[in-house]
Symmetry: C2
Subunit: 202 residues, 2 copies
């Protein structure tokens, strides 16, 4: 019997279990943090609620932050692929807005999960940097992907990198704006922020 070839299927039992464990850890992290606050939750508690050992936690997530945000290792590859897949003539800033927006509210997650994740992200100052703005690997990868798409030699100019950093900064600024009780809705503010970047700063 040949293996199924549906686009996103889970063939082996092993693979399925791994996904389930990762999901359980992520959910446990979200629930606990939602309940007690980020600082009051230990990785041990997350592991326990997910039904795995404390050590296993770190087999799935490299840090407490990434467990809460549900950031996996191959998200990097997905993001660069997403950038590479944007239409040829699209302005980089538009590609970045879409791709970063997907990071903020992953389409893969169901409605409840997204809502909870968003609530936590906007409530915990410690998390925004972890999602956006504190990941050098991420910035490097996105910059490289953008340079590739634009057909420029990597590192030959700072342009792509500055664009990436500004875009990430804009998203982060909107999150922090929200955290500080600023006006407006998050999505709308992100639009405005990118318009501001496009129009040129004073």
């Amino acid at each position: 019997m040949p293996k199924q070839s549906a686009p996103d299927e889970t063939c082996g039992l092993r693979e399925r279990k791994k996904r389930e464990t990762r999901r359980a850890l992520h959910h446990a992290a979200l629930d606990l943090v939602d309940d007690k606050g980020y600082a009051a939750v230990t990785t041990e508690a997350i592991a326990e609620r997910a039904g795995v050992s404390a050590r296993t936690f770190f087999n799935y997530f490299s840090s407490k932050e990434s467990a809460v945000l549900g950031v996996t290792g191959d998200q990097l590859a997905e993001t660069t692929a997403a950038i590479a897949g944007r239409p040829e003539g699209e302005p980089p800033l538009v590609s970045l807005r879409l791709v970063l927006g997907e990071l903020l509210a992953p389409a893969s997650a169901d409605r409840d999960l997204r809502a909870k994740r968003r609530r936590i992200l906007l409530a915990e100052p410690a998390l925004a940097p972890a999602l956006v703005g504190n990941n050098i690997l991420f910035e490097n990868a996105v910059t490289a992907a953008l340079e590739r798409r634009l057909g420029v030699r990597p590192g030959s100019s700072i342009e792509a990198r500055v664009t990436v950093a500004a875009a990430i900064g804009a998203v982060r600024a909107c999150i922090e704006h929200q955290q500080n009780g600023g006006s407006g809705r998050l999505e709308r503010n992100i639009e405005l922020a990118f318009e501001q970047l496009a129009a040129g700063l004073r």
Copy 2:
């Protein structure tokens, strides 16, 4: 006898000793990191080289990163004051470039120290975020200062915050560009980056 009133003097013995201890810790941190790399240096080692106890280290710096970068608590106040002190009509982006540049290479430090600090900053990927881009308090303070100077109500729009985030991102991008072996000189790239922000991103 009234206390002296020179602008930046060190009157009491106590004050002098504190400054000296802070300086010793910062220098020790720079030397050790320059020698062995950031990850291989412990706060204990820094304290020992500076001639104080391990516990005292944390009386002076809130983290290992801040000891290496020499970031003190009142730097925040200095930065906001610097922003407030910029001339009225100056474009925010210009003020930010100058103030952030000062963060990068403090005029207070002597030539040797600045060189060493710069070398380490460009060699250690872990440090750039710590200096620029990972400090929520810093971003909040600078944003507030900018809003005050522009005379807008804090949090009424995202504009100031986005400008701050983009400016910080630009500096950080230039540092990372350098770290990745990119072209050009740091200072020149920073100029270019700010020009790019001013011209508007695509």
